[in-house]
C-alpha cells in the first residue's frame, strides 16, 4: 500500500481509531494484522516468505541467547546467512550472474545465463536489515530475545516503517509495543502535521520534479549542458523530498499512535562536509552501516590505510544495498572516495582557510562549505539516477557543454538570453510547472532555515489560531490541487 494512495487514506484512520478503541492487550495484535494487510496490498503471497524469515530469525535469536562460544557464533552466522541468502536470491542473483557470464565470455568459457524471473518483495532490503540488527544485538547481549513471536513479527512488520524504513533497532522499538499509549492531543496533531508535510514533499515537490528529471534522464542523448545541470539539481531535491517525505509520513503515522521512530533526515543539503551529509541523510541506514559494518571492521581504531579501507568498503556495500547495478556501486564508491579524500585533506584545507582568512568570516565559510558539499553530492546523484553507466558518463561529459556561452549571454543581455534559452530550463514542461517547482524548493529550504532555530511546529504553535489554521489549510489545498499524479516512492525499489 502506498502512503500516497486512497487506500492508505482509508486504512490509516480506521487502524488508528481501532487502536485507541480496543484494550491495550489486543493492540499489538491489531497492529500485526494491519501490517499484514498493508504488506499484502503489494503481492499477497510474499507474506509467507516474510513469515519464514521472521521465524528463522526469531528461532535463531533464542538459540543465540541460550548458547555460548562457537555455537553462539554459529547460530548468528546461520541467521545472517539465511537472511542474506534471501536478499541475494531476490535482489542480487541476476546481477552477479550476468556479470559472471560477461567474465566467462571474456575467457571464452561456456556459461549459459539462467536468469531468475522474480519480482523483488517490497521493502526487502529494509526489513531484512531490521531483522539483522535484532539478531546481532541479541548476539552482542545488548537486547533480550523477544519470546512473543507476535511482538517480534510486529517489530519486523510494523506497517509505518515496513517497506521503506526508518530501519529501527530492537532496543528502540520492541519495548514500545508493550507500553500503553493514551490518546494525546498534542502528539496526535503533531503526527498528523508531520504526515501532511511529508505528503507535501512527496506529491507537490518530488513528483513534480520527477517530470523534469525523467524527461532528461530517460532521454539523456537528447540533452546537454544547462538542461543536464537543471535535471541533476532537480533530482537532488526529488530524491530528498521523495524519501524524506516517506520518512515523515512513516514517523508521523507512528507518532499518532504513540510510537517514536528514529529521525531519518536532518536538513542534509545544509551539510558542511560529505561526512556531515552522511550524518544527516538516511540516518537509520548510515548508522546501521556504522554499527554493523564499519565498527566491526575496526572503524578508525586501526592503521590509517585500514581505516580508509573500512570507510571505502562500508560505502561500497551501501551502494550495493541500494541496487544491483554498477551505477549504485559507483555511487557508493564515489561517496567513499569523497570521505577518504576529505579525511586526508583535512589538515591542508584547515591551513588554506587560515591563509585566506576565511575563518574570519564564518558565515561565508559555512556557505562555501555547504555549496561545495551540495555540488559533490549532487554530482554523485548522476550515477544514482542514470539508467546505465553509459548514460551517467554521457551526462558527466556533457554537463557543462554550452554553459560558458550561456552565462556570457545572460550577463550581456539577460532578457534576450532567457527568451533564447528558456527551453533548456523548462525540459519539456510549462513555465507554470517550472515556477511551481522552483518555488516549492525555495519553500522547503525556507522551512529548513527556520528549523535551524528550533522546531518549526513549535514556532507555528505560537502563531494566532486563525493564521495557523490558514497556513494548514493552504498546505492541504496545495497538496489537493497542485500535487502531481502519484508515483511509487523511489526507495520502494530497494
Amino acid at each position: 500500500m502506498l502512503f500516497n494512495s486512497i487506500d492508505f487514506l482509508i486504512f490509516f484512520p480506521i487502524v488508528t481509531i481501532l487502536y485507541f478503541a480496543i484494550p491495550h492487550k489486543y493492540r499489538w495484535f491489531l497492529l500485526l494484522v494491519a501490517s499484514c494487510v498493508f504488506y499484502m496490498a503489494f503481492i499477497p503471497a510474499y507474506i509467507l516468505f516474510l513469515f519464514a524469515l521472521i521465524l528463522i530469525d526469531y528461532t535463531a535469536a533464542i538459540f543465540i541467547e541460550k548458547s555460548e562460544g562457537n555455537k553462539r557464533k554459529l547460530y548468528l552466522i546461520v541467521s545472517i546467512f539465511s537472511t542474506c541468502l534471501a536478499l541475494f536470491i531476490f535482489k542480487y542473483f541476476n546481477f552477479f550472474n550476468v556479470n559472471f557470464a560477461a567474465v566467462a565470455r571474456f575467457f571464452h568459457w561456456n556459461y549459459p545465463i539462467h536468469l531468475l524471473k522474480l519480482i523483488l518483495p517490497i521493502g526487502l532490503s529494509f526489513h531484512t536489515f531490521q531483522s539483522l540488527s535484532y539478531v546481532i544485538e541479541v548476539y552482542r547481549k545488548r537486547q533480550k530475545t523477544e519470546r512473543n513471536i507476535g511482538i517480534y513479527a510486529l517489530y519486523v512488520m510494523f506497517y509505518p516503517q515496513l517497506v521503506s524504513g526508518p530501519i529501527e533497532r530492537p532496543y528502540n522499538l520492541i519495548h514500545q509495543f508493550y507500553e500503553k499509549h493514551y490518546f494525546d492531543y498534542k502528539r496526535v496533531t503533531d503526527g498528523l502535521k508531520l504526515m501532511v508535510w511529508g505528503m507535501f514533499k512527496k506529491v507537490v515537490i518530488a513528483d513534480r520534479l520527477a517530470l523534469f528529471v525523467n524527461q532528461v534522464y530517460n532521454n539523456t542523448g537528447d540533452y546537454s549542458g544547462i538542461s543536464l545541470i537543471v535535471a541533476t539539481v532537480f533530482f537532488a531535491y526529488q530524491i530528498f523530498c521523495d524519501f524524506s517525505g516517506y520518512s515523515d509520513i512513516a514517523i508521523g503515522s507512528a507518532q499518532v499512535m504513540g510510537f517514536t521512530l528514529m529521525n531519518n533526515f536532518t536538513r542534509p543539503y545544509f551539510a558542511k562536509s560529505v561526512a556531515d551529509f552522511w550524518r544527516r541523510w538516511h540516518i537509520s541506514l548510515s548508522t546501521w552501516f556504522r554499527d554493523y559494518v564499519y565498527i566491526p571492521l575496526g572503524g578508525n581504531r586501526v592503521s590509517v590505510p585500514r581505516h580508509y579501507f573500512n570507510l571505502f568498503v562500508s560505502f561500497l556495500i551501501s551502494g550495493l544495498w541500494h541496487g544491483a547495478n554498477w551505477t549504485f556501486l559507483i555511487w557508493g564508491a564515489l561517496n567513499g572516495f569523497y570521505i577518504i579524500l576529505e579525511t586526508m585533506t583535512a589538515g591542508i584545507r584547515e591551513k588554506i582557510i587560515w591563509l585566506i582568512r576565511l575563518n574570519k568570516a564564518p558565515l561565508l565559510h559555512k556557505l562555501i562549505q555547504a555549496l561545495i558539499t551540495f555540488s559533490l553530492i549532487t554530482f554523485s546523484w548522476i550515477f544514482f539516477r542514470a539508467n546505465s553507466i553509459k548514460d551517467a558518463f554521457y551526462v558527466i561529459a556533457n554537463l557543462f557543454a554550452g554553459v560558458p556561452s550561456l552565462i556570457f549571454n545572460l550577463i550581456k543581455n539577460p532578457l534576450a538570453a532567457i527568451s533564447e534559452y528558456h527551453n533548456l530550463f523548462l525540459l519539456g514542461q510549462s513555465y507554470r510547472e517550472f515556477i511551481i517547482a522552483v518555488l516549492a524548493i525555495l519553500l522547503l529550504e525556507s522551512f529548513h532555515l527556520l528549523q535551524r532555530k528550533g522546531s518549526v511546529r513549535a514556532t507555528f504553535s505560537k502563531l494566532p489560531l486563525l493564521l495557523r489554521w490558514a497556513l494548514y489549510i493552504v498546505i492541504v489545498l496545495i497538496i489537493l490541487n497542485f500535487g502531481k499524479v502519484s508515483k511509487p516512492f523511489i526507495y520502494f525499489q530497494f
Binding site: 502506498l2 500516497n4 494512495s5 486512497i6 487506500d7 487514506l9 485507541f20 490518546f183 492531543y185 496526535v188 496533531t189 506529491v203 532521454n219 489554521w469 494548514y472 489549510i473 492541504v476 489545498l477 497538496i479 489537493l480 490541487n481 500535487g483 502531481k484 499524479v485 502519484s486
Partner: protein, 322 residues
C-alpha cells in the same frame, strides 16, 4: 479525544469549503466551459465544435479569422458559439452534447469536424489529450471537487486517466494491418527536422492506420448523432481537409487509398438516406495548407474560407429543405 474530533471536523469542513471555492474559480479559467455556459444562457443557434484546424492560420494570411468566425459572416441570421481546443475530438464533443441536453439547451445546429488524425494512436490514446478534467466537470461538478485528489492519490492512476504514459508509449503502431513499431519510437521523432525518414514516419503514425468500425471515437460520433437528432438538433459532420498530395509523395498510391477507405468507414457508420456527412477530406491541394512540407489539417486563409463556405452552403440548403 472529543476535542480533537470536533476540531478535525471543523478543519475538514473549512478545507472542503475552500476547495469548492478554489474549484469554482478554477473552472472559470477553462474558456471552453465558460463559452458553453454563455451559449446556454444566450440560447445560441449554432454550436461549432473545433480543434486546431478551426483556429490555426498562416502568418502570411491577411485574414486570420478562424473557420467559425468566417462562418458567422456567411450565416448572419444565426448566433454562433465556437467551442474549440487543440486536440479536442469526438469523445469530448459527445460530453459537451450530453451536458447541453442535460441543461435543457437545444441549439438549432451543432457543427462537428471529423479530423482523420484524431483516430490515430498519436491522438486518440495520447494521455495528454484525454481531457479528463473537462469531461468530469461536464458530467458531474460535485465529483470534480475531488478530481485532483483522486488523481493524485489513486495508485492505479486509472480512475480518471484511462491511459497511462507508459501504456501509451508501448502501444503498437500499425501501417494498415501491418505492425510498424511502438508509440515510443514514433513519439521521439523531431518534427522540426523535416528529414525524409522523419516525415515518412510522421505520416505513417498520423494517417496510415486502418480505421475499424468499432473505433471508440467513431462510436462517440454515432452516439452524438443519435442524441442530437433525438432532441431535434441538426448535427453537421464534416471531414476536415487533408494535404493528401504530400501524403502521396511519401506513400505513393497507398495514402489516398487508405484515406478513402477510412473515410468510407466513417460514412458507413454515420450516413443514412436523409443524412449525409460533408466530406472535404480530398477537396484541397497542398497550397491551401499552412505547412507545405508534411500533411496536416491546418488551413491557410484560402482553405479556411473554402471550408466555411461549404459548411455554410450545407446549413443553408438544409434550412431551405425544411
Amino acid at each position: 479525544m472529543k476535542k480533537f474530533f470536533i476540531k478535525l471536523t471543523i478543519f475538514l469542513l473549512i478545507t472542503l469549503l475552500f476547495q469548492a471555492l478554489f474549484l469554482i474559480v478554477y473552472m472559470r479559467s477553462l474558456p471552453q466551459l465558460v463559452a458553453l455556459e454563455k451559449a446556454q444562457k444566450e440560447k445560441t443557434d449554432i454550436i461549432y465544435f473545433g480543434d486546431s484546424s478551426d483556429t490555426n492560420y498562416d502568418n502570411k494570411d491577411l485574414d486570420k479569422r478562424s473557420i467559425s468566425q468566417m462562418l458567422q459572416e456567411i450565416l448572419p441570421d444565426y448566433s454562433m458559439t465556437s467551442i474549440s481546443h487543440p486536440a479536442y475530438a469526438a469523445d469530448i464533443f459527445l460530453d459537451f452534447c450530453k451536458n447541453m441536453i442535460k441543461q435543457k439547451y437545444y441549439p438549432k445546429v451543432v457543427i462537428i469536424p471529423i479530423n482523420m488524425r484524431s483516430f490515430s494512436l498519436s491522438w486518440d490514446k495520447n494521455p495528454g489529450w484525454q481531457f479528463e478534467q473537462e469531461k468530469t466537470i461536464l458530467k458531474n461538478k460535485l465529483l470534480f471537487m475531488f478530481f485532483k485528489t483522486i488523481e493524485v492519490f489513486d495508485k492505479n492512476n486509472k480512475r480518471f486517466n484511462e491511459i497511462t504514459q507508459g501504456e501509451f508509449e508501448n502501444m503498437e503502431v500499425f501501417n494498415g494491418e501491418k505492425a510498424a513499431g511502438i508509440v515510443k519510437d514514433f513519439e521521439k521523432h523531431e518534427f522540426r527536422n523535416y528529414s525524409e525518414e522523419n516525415m515518412k514516419n510522421s505520416i505513417l503514425y498520423f494517417y496510415m492506420f486502418s480505421l475499424k468500425n468499432d473505433h471508440r471515437k467513431l462510436n462517440s460520433l454515432a452516439e452524438m448523432k443519435k442524441i442530437l437528432l433525438e432532441n431535434n438538433i441538426k448535427p453537421v459532420f464534416y471531414i476536415t481537409s487533408i494535404d493528401y498530395e504530400t501524403g502521396e509523395r511519401y506513400f505513393t498510391g497507398e495514402f489516398t487509398e487508405r484515406l478513402k477507405n477510412n473515410v468510407e468507414t466513417i460514412k458507413s457508420a454515420l450516413e443514412e438516406d436523409n443524412f449525409k456527412v460533408l466530406d472535404l477530406s480530398m477537396d484541397l491541394k497542398t497550397n491551401f495548407f499552412t505547412q507545405e512540407k508534411y500533411p496536416n489539417e491546418h488551413l491557410n486563409e484560402k482553405g479556411r474560407k473554402y471550408v466555411a463556405e461549404k459548411i455554410g452552403e450545407m446549413i443553408k440548403k438544409d434550412e431551405k429543405e425544411k
